[in-house]
Symmetry: C2
């Protein structure tokens, strides 16, 4: 048996990071559109084909931790405390994610994203994927009552909440406001009685 982290994997991760760092540095300095793939590859001192073996597209260079986001969402559903109701768990997670990406340190990156139509479009299609996997996680929980359609709808609404809150003047308040709506939308999918353990009468 070998160690979980062989030299090969370490080198590969290092190369990936080197590319991502070079890309972000150039993008922030000169603007996303003004920097070409060939520039990034040169700055990272790798071949263009190598770059594309680590990242599926130019946009993916920016949304590097895409999968973290997806995992945090689905884990908020699958690994929540037993009998904890669904919506508050999601609300907490979305609140944390919004706080994280509206922090001052992330401001330049999001400014860059907002300035590029290509990046906004990419982020949108990312969110669609996230909504779909969130819907799967929700539908897989046997303790939840929603139909597949209701699960997909709630998943979309949750992702919408994240997206809208990021743009809102007061992100945290927006999360609260939209989750009130989501809570009501979810409650209506439970015919009667104790909706998802929200402590009924």
């Amino acid at each position: 048996m070998t160690e979980p982290t062989g030299r090969r994997e370490r080198k590969k991760a290092a190369t990936r990071q080197k590319i991502a760092d070079a890309a972000l540095r150039l993008f922030l300095e000169h603007g996303y559109d003004a920097v070409g793939i060939r520039d990034v590859a040169a700055e990272a001192d790798v071949a263009v084909t190598t770059l594309f073996s680590h990242f599926a597209s130019k946009e993916a260079l920016v949304f590097e931790q895409d999968e973290d986001f997806e995992q945090r969402l689905t884990r908020a559903v699958t690994e929540r405390a037993p009998h904890e109701p669904l919506i508050p768990a999601l609300r907490r997670e979305i609140q944390a994610l919004v706080r994280h990406c509206t922090a001052d340190s992330a401001a330049p990156i999001w400014h860059m994203i907002d300035a590029s139509p290509a990046l906004r479009e990419y982020e949108e299609s990312m969110r669609l994927r996230h909504a779909e996997s969130l819907a799967t996680a929700i539908a897989a929980d046997p303790g939840l009552p929603g139909t597949p359609t209701a699960c997909r709808a709630i998943a979309r609404f949750v992702i919408d909440a994240y997206s809208l809150a990021r743009d809102a003047a007061d992100p945290e308040a927006a999360v609260g406001e939209i989750f009130q709506m989501i809570e009501a939308a979810w409650a209506v999918t439970c015919p009667s009685g104790n909706p998802t353990g929200t402590a009924g009468p």
Copy 2:
């Protein structure tokens, strides 16, 4: 003064239509990815640059009546009967749109769209625009009580309903199910009393 439709405008519209027809014909026959822009231009007997002066991108050739969709949505809000509640009016319109694009005659086109990631991504970003203009229309109605954030959220939910219903096994039932959720979400934005004229208790 000249006629509202001069020769110039007629010729321009004819060229545009000729391009769109040629594109759809080729796309449906050989597949979207297998047909290049140069092929479409040749089939329509125009220069590539002319094609791009009529359509902003290859994907836009497929979603030709994009603006119709947008207008129908906003008009469902702005031109609804006086005192008619918002959500049912939107429900009717979405129902009609879903029926329209799940009709058998539209099946080949939507099959083509589902088969191409580029087209799906483009449609997604189109929906974002539509949600934004729908939100503006809702927020502009002085008879409605929602905050700007609530309006934007409801607009997104409505577009989500359209998108999800199209993919559902029973589209019409899905519209009904999701709009029950939307109705509840909207009701919660009205502190108390008669929520948007839905005939309170």
